[in-house]
Amino acid sequence: MERRELLRLLASAGALPLLAPLARAAGTDDWQAQYEASGAPWKIGFATPPDDMPLTRATVRGRFPDAVAGTLFRIGPAGHDLGGERYHHWFDGDGMVHRLAIEGTDVRHQGRYVATPKRVAEVKAGRRLFEAFGTMPPGVEPPTSADSINVANTSVLPMQGEVLALWEGGSATRIDARTLETLGLKTWRADLAGMPFSAHPKVDSDGTVWNFGVSSGQGLLALYEISSEGTLRRAAVVPVADMPMVHDFAVTERHLVFLMPPLVYDGKRKEAGASFLDAHVWRPELGMRVLVVDKQNWERRQLLTLPAGFLFHVGNAWEEVTPRGTLIHVDYVRSDNADSVFTSSREVMRGRRVKSTEPYLTVATLNLSTGQATQTALAQDAEFPRIDPRRVGLRHRHVVHATQIRRDLPGFGAIARTDVETGRSQRFSYGAQAIVEEHVFVPDGSKPGWVLGTALDFGRQKTVLSCLAADHLGAGPVAQATLPYALPLGLHGAFVPA
């Protein structure tokens, strides 16, 4: 769908306020009041910016290295409440895309809500009209398409002068990289309109973009191969039994690797009125299925099994041919079950901290010749794993990740760089008044490179952007920009050099 389509959707949204009395009758709940009453000092990370955030200069300490001159694009759920109704899950909110333009001692921030058809219609109506990932607002009708509930809030993929704002249940949304203006839905090919396009595409060392999409209701997995110029090379759908929640994947030189946690979609629960999240059932008897797909021939697929566990994110995977067989090594952030997505990520929305199963960096080895799969947990609690973008699908040593779970705070307190082969790790802690967001690795030729990312300093109610030497994380930031305000805690980002 292109701009024309979006405009048409926006125009048709005018009819929706007619349904308002239906929703009103269903009443409201008290999550908004509970959030407002919460005394948690960190709750500002889940506040709703009332409007777009115009370009604003940050205060900079130190000087950002030349290698990180450019733009860090970030995105995350930001529109958490509307019309006095608050979403019940962190992942529900309307996406806000951010750009942090970096040049030496000058850092500027701009934030802009993605003008999805959903957001435009709901803001116009002054209340929620559609269901969300983890919330069924009262009186909503079944969605007419995946993109009618697309919140474009999960990740970004810079491509050909645009930025694609990614969700995972529907289309990518095109954003003007300079103005952050929403340009419309991305349609890779006419017969792919409205298809799920995950938030974690992988860009190969040759620039090829691989991605997937999950249709839970139909038990279908879409696969995409896109050239570095942004043109679609191939797309197909393959069936998957007992379709689980799959948020991320990995590529190697010859394979696509899907770790499939036993959190399985149950269409009957959905029909009975459950949110998309609550329509999923934990079925540990399935184990963690691992689907390995031949990159060149998608009909060649192999299924292996790891012990049951849950994940959102994969760091990287690579493969090697050994006398013992062809091995794929994949590191990911594993927790024993999916409890946190049902509890911790919900309760923060009313300013409550509920501890849950903790995720640990885990390295698995898949033997494609024997079908055996094994794994080892490293002693690093972790989330938001990122690697050197030049090493995607190749042998890597280091993963940059958030770490340091605190008992009384959501999220993480430190950023770490861990060697997945030796387990050695170094870290920088942002302190007891901060929540770390995703940091990315920025290469600097043959030098060790940089780690760039944001953190919420809720003590000062400000968001900071830091650059650290990748080989001296413990030394702290070489440069830090402090915004004059706090941003809502976001999800993922991507750096584009100037």
Partner: protein
């Protein structure tokens, strides 16, 4: 999240086949005219396909009792099913934007052209059933479908 199954592939096929069946107008003393307005079609010119069903079995099997195609301009079209015997009817409609005579779908079977049902009925992640879309036609009646 998953796209709701608005129209399964069979349902899409049903709508397409129905549209090419010849119109059928039962004559009788009690005949009524059903006037249909269709709105929210594509901005560009398109052809509107509309199929009329008189019972749940026919609806389920895509055996329409009448079908019409009319030009759609600026997202709007009007047409009349004349001389209908009194009873309950359901309508399915879609706007053919690229002139290939069918409701296009993506690789997962989801419609990529605009469609709608009488009563503006919506299914729960599937096409609505006959009961949801049925309208009573006892005398001349005007109705509207908003495509989506």
């Amino acid at each position: 999240m998953q796209p709701p199954a608005l129209l399964s592939r069979p349902a899409v096929r049903v709508l397409c086949t129905a549209a090419i069946l010849a119109p059928f107008s039962p004559l009788g003393a009690l005949a009524a005219d059903l006037s249909l307005s269709v709105a929210d079609g594509p901005a560009a010119d398109a052809t509107l396909y509309v199929a009329l069903y008189s019972d749940a079995a026919g609806y389920a099997d895509s055996k329409s009792v009448a079908a019409q195609t009319v030009p759609m301009q600026a997202g709007k079209a009007r047409l009349v099913f004349a001389g209908l015997a009194p009873g309950r009817y359901a309508l399915r409609a879609f706007a053919d934007e690229n002139g290939n005579g069918k409701l296009d779908t993506n690789l997962m079977g989801m419609p990529t052209e605009r469609y709608g049902f009488s009563n503006d009925a919506k299914g729960n992640r599937a096409a609505p059933d006959f009961e949801a879309a049925a309208i009573r036609v006892d005398a001349d009646l005007q109705t509207i479908i908003h495509l989506r």
